[in-house]
Structures are given as C-alpha cells and as structure tokens.
C-alpha cells in the first residue's frame, strides 16, 4: 500500500498520535525518522505540522501495534493510513 504517494497531496498530510494509545514501541520513528520521533516521555511525536506522502510514512502508520499513529489529509481530515 502506498497511500497518497504521488497523488498530489505533497505537504498536505497531517500525522496524528493518540497519546493514550501510544505505548512507545518506536516502530514508527524507525520506519519514518523524517516524520516522527519519540518524545522525552517515550511517546511518538510528529516532527512537523505537515508531512509529505511517502512509503515510509505509510509504513509507520501500518506498523503501529496500537494504531495510535494515523495519517490524514490536512485539508479534510480524511484518513489515508493505515487503511485495510
């Protein structure tokens, strides 16, 4: 799956982290270090207010063991990853 890759959403994505669900596995930060980092409390934090579509970012969302990290279209809020 390569949600959003090359479909004109460049810079138009928003990474969201549910801080209650996040258990700090760090799989997201390992998959997409340019977009996500682990904060001092061990929970994931988006690096930037906006992100660009990439396979790495999609993978970060797909790998999250608790589905705490999701990627949305910034304009509409529509979920782009993870998808089934």
């Amino acid at each position: 799956m390569s949600a959003g890759a090359g479909d004109g959403t460049a810079g138009g994505l928003e990474v969201r982290v549910d801080r209650i669900r996040c258990v700090g596995t760090g799989l997201c930060a390992a998959a997409a270090p340019a977009d996500v980092l682990l904060g001092p409390d061990g929970r994931a934090v988006p690096r930037h207010a906006r992100a660009e579509a990439s396979e790495r970012l999609t993978e970060a969302a797909e790998m999250c063991p608790t589905e705490a990290l999701t990627v949305h279209l910034a304009a509409t809020g529509e979920l782009v990853a993870p998808l089934d």
């Binding site: 209650i20 669900r21 258990v23 700090g24 596995t25 760090g26 799989l27 390992a30 998959a31 682990l38 409390d41 061990g42 929970r43 797909e62 790998m63 999250c64 063991p65 608790t66 589905e67 993870p82 089934d84």
Partner: protein
C-alpha cells in the same frame, strides 16, 4: 498436553492469582534477585511506563560478559538471540518482519474464525456433559488451535508442544540440563519449520516471516528460529494462563459479572481488559518484574539509577497503582489508561490484540452457552501448574 506439576505434599496451598496482595507503589527501591544480584524495583504506573520506553534501559546488556547473574536456571527468555533480548535497530529489524501480522486490523480478520473455534469447543464441552474439566476441554485447547492455525502447524503433537512450553518458561520445575535439552529439541523443530516454509511457502505466519526475514539484511538464522519458537510458546501459554485465571475469578469472587459477560460482546471485551490488568500471570518468583539494565546513569521516579544497575519493571504493582486505577476489579468500566500487562516501549507484547480477542470471545462464548456455570470444588482446592513463570489451574472442574 502439559507435563503435570502438582504440588508436592509439603508445598503450601496457593491462593488464586486475583487474591494476591499488591505492594504500595512508590519510588524505585532496592531489592535482590534470587541470584543475590541487587535490583531496582520500579512500581509506579508512570515510572514503569517510562522505564520500558526509555532506550537507556536495555535488554542486551543483561547478557553481556560483565552482566551480573539474573537467573538461577536460564530458559527460553534468556536466549540472547531471542527478539526480547535485542535492542535498537537490530530489534526493530526483526520485529518488522512480524509486526504487520499482529496489528489490530490484521487480528480483527481472524475474529470470525476464532469465534467458530470457540463454538466448536463449546459444542464438545456440552456433548461431554456436566461436570467437565474446562481447562482441558476449553481454555488450553483454544489458544493451541489458534496458534496452530496461524502458524500452519497442522498435526502438531500437543504433548511435545506442552513439554517444550513448560521447559521454555520454567522457573524451578526443571534443571538447567533438562531445559537445555528440551530447548535444543525445540530449536531443531523451529529450524525444520523455517526450512520447510522457505522451500514451500504457504499463507501462514511462518512463511511470511521467513520471506520478510530473507528480504531483510542483517536478520540472522538464529534470530529467525528463536522468533518462530517464541511465537509458538508465547502464542498459547500466556493466553491459556490468562483465560484459566480469569475463569477462576469469574466463577468465584467475580461471579456477579458472569451473566453480563454472556449477554454482550462489548461487556465481555471490557471485562477481558480489566481482567488482563488486574489478574497477574504468575507469582513473580524469579524476578520482581520485567528486567532491564541501565546503560548509563538515569533518574527515574526521583531516584538516580547508576549505570550498569539491573532494574525490574513491576507491571503487576503498577497495574494496581491507586494514582491511576480505582480499587478492585470494576469489571465493566473501560480503562482510561492502558494497563502495563503487555508492557510498553519496543518490546510491547506482539500478541496483545490476539490475546485480547481470544480472551474476550472465549469468556463471552462460555458465559452465553453456560449461564449457570459453576466451580465444583472450592477455589482453595485448585491444583496449580507450578514451577513455571506463569501459574494457572492444572484443571478446573465445572458443572452446569
């Protein structure tokens, strides 16, 4: 399937796990492991969570040449090649080969099938008639059926599987030689499985794992085989234990909740979550929690933990931290804060969603089919599987 570990005549009777008392959480305090090695025990919910997510506390250095002894008798969890004992990038690399199969979305796809296994087992239980052993006929069979299907282990010898599991998670039940011998045999089984699926891949988890590992540079064969063996054991042993101990509670002190668990899947899901939080898997005889080692000086909970120290994340105490959870087991209240039963950080339990789903469907199915289910013997007469890291009823005679 299991080697029985009935109590020796001189062993004290054990209370059900939901009756164990819990320490008052507080700042990290110094204790000792059975090996004599000092250990910092971390007990507050927030501190345990932080500890498990902080890369300055690792697993690999527990096995470095300068490491103090942390186990009297090593078992499967002390294999330095086990995923549990890798850290950082090396760990992430291996974890990514299996993670996709265990996300909530992937696990949800198994739900109808797991539900049908539950129904089949309940049919068998009903046909056999009251009274029956619900462990042998249900709580042990379900997780074995599920992991066998997931990993494509048709025709797996359940006797052998039981023996390997018991040795893999042995605390005091077996000698180091017995464990080593069983783990070598188990390792050969794992290697054979990897070889087979590499040659002739199927739709199962082992095939997809081998395929992903072979595509990933740096994953060693030893890590792969250890992971396969780990999945077989972890895939059923802990779920069987949770389910058995949940039933002990729900058919004794928690009997008030039985009708509601049978009445709604959502209520069963809430109850499963609460039971996973509140009923521990074992007695923590070998260590007061999940062990880590400080790779540098780190302050946690207001206490400076010096570099090189062994630290235990006491999730069991943290799961009863009054700063986070109300007293008792409010069976149908949703958890506002996730429990630490499945850990946190990089090693957060891979099978958490599978375990939750199995527990939820099993409890719901059983309570719906047998609304009048009751224990035949008093809880203090329960015989336990002993000498393992986990403790669960050897058998549980029920009537309806």
């Amino acid at each position: 399937m299991t080697t029985a570990h009935p109590a020796a005549p001189d062993m004290p009777a054990l209370v059900p796990l939901h009756c164990l008392r819990h320490a008052e959480p507080g700042p990290p305090r110094l204790a000792a492991l059975p090996t004599g090695t000092p250990v910092w025990v971390v007990t507050r919910h927030a501190d345990v969570r932080r500890l498990l997510a902080d890369p300055r506390f690792d697993r690999a250095s527990l096995f470095s040449p300068d490491a103090p002894a942390t186990t009297l008798v090593p078992n499967l969890l002390d294999d330095p090649q086990a995923m549990l004992n890798l850290d950082g990038e090396e760990h992430q690399r291996l974890r990514r080969t299996v993670q996709r199969a265990f996300t909530p979305r992937s696990i949800a796809r198994w739900r109808p099938w797991v539900g049908s296994v539950v129904e089949d087992l309940l049919d068998g239980l009903e046909a056999a008639g009251s009274p029956a052993d619900v462990v042998g006929a249900f709580s042990r069979s379900l997780p074995i059926a599920v992991i066998s299907r997931l990993m494509g282990l048709d025709g797996l010898d359940h006797e052998r599987l039981g023996r390997w599991s018991d040795h893999a998670l042995s605390a005091t039940a077996y000698t180091a030689e017995e464990i080593q011998q069983a783990m070598q045999e188990f390792g050969r089984f794992g290697q054979q499985l990897v070889d087979e699926r590499r040659k002739d891949p199927g739709e199962d988890l082992v095939s997809s794992l081998v395929e992903a590992a072979d595509r990933t540079e740096g994953v060693t064969e030893a890590q792969l085989v250890s992971l396969v063996c780990g999945l077989v054991v972890a895939g059923h042993e802990t779920t069987m234990t949770s389910l058995g101990n949940a039933l002990v509670y729900l058919l004794s002190d928690g009997a008030d909740g039985w009708a509601r668990i049978g009445g709604s899947e959502a209520d069963a899901a809430a109850a499963a979550e609460q039971l996973l939080r509140a009923v521990p898997l074992g007695d923590q005889e070998t260590a007061p929690g999940l062990l880590r080692r400080a790779v540098e000086d780190v302050e946690i909970g207001g206490v400076l933990i010096p570099a090189g120290s062994v630290v235990a994340a006491d999730a069991r105490t943290a799961n009863h931290d009054p700063a986070v959870y109300p007293d008792g087991i409010p069976l149908f209240d949703p958890l506002d804060t996730p429990s630490l039963t499945f850990g946190a950080g990089p090693h957060h339990c891979l099978g958490a969603w599978l375990a939750r789903m199995e527990l939820e469907l099993a409890l719901h199915g059983l309570a719906r089919r047998f609304p009048a289910l009751r224990l035949v013997d008093a809880p203090d007469a329960i015989e336990w599987r002993r000498g393992l890291l986990t403790r669960s009823p050897l058998r549980l005679t029920v009537a309806w």
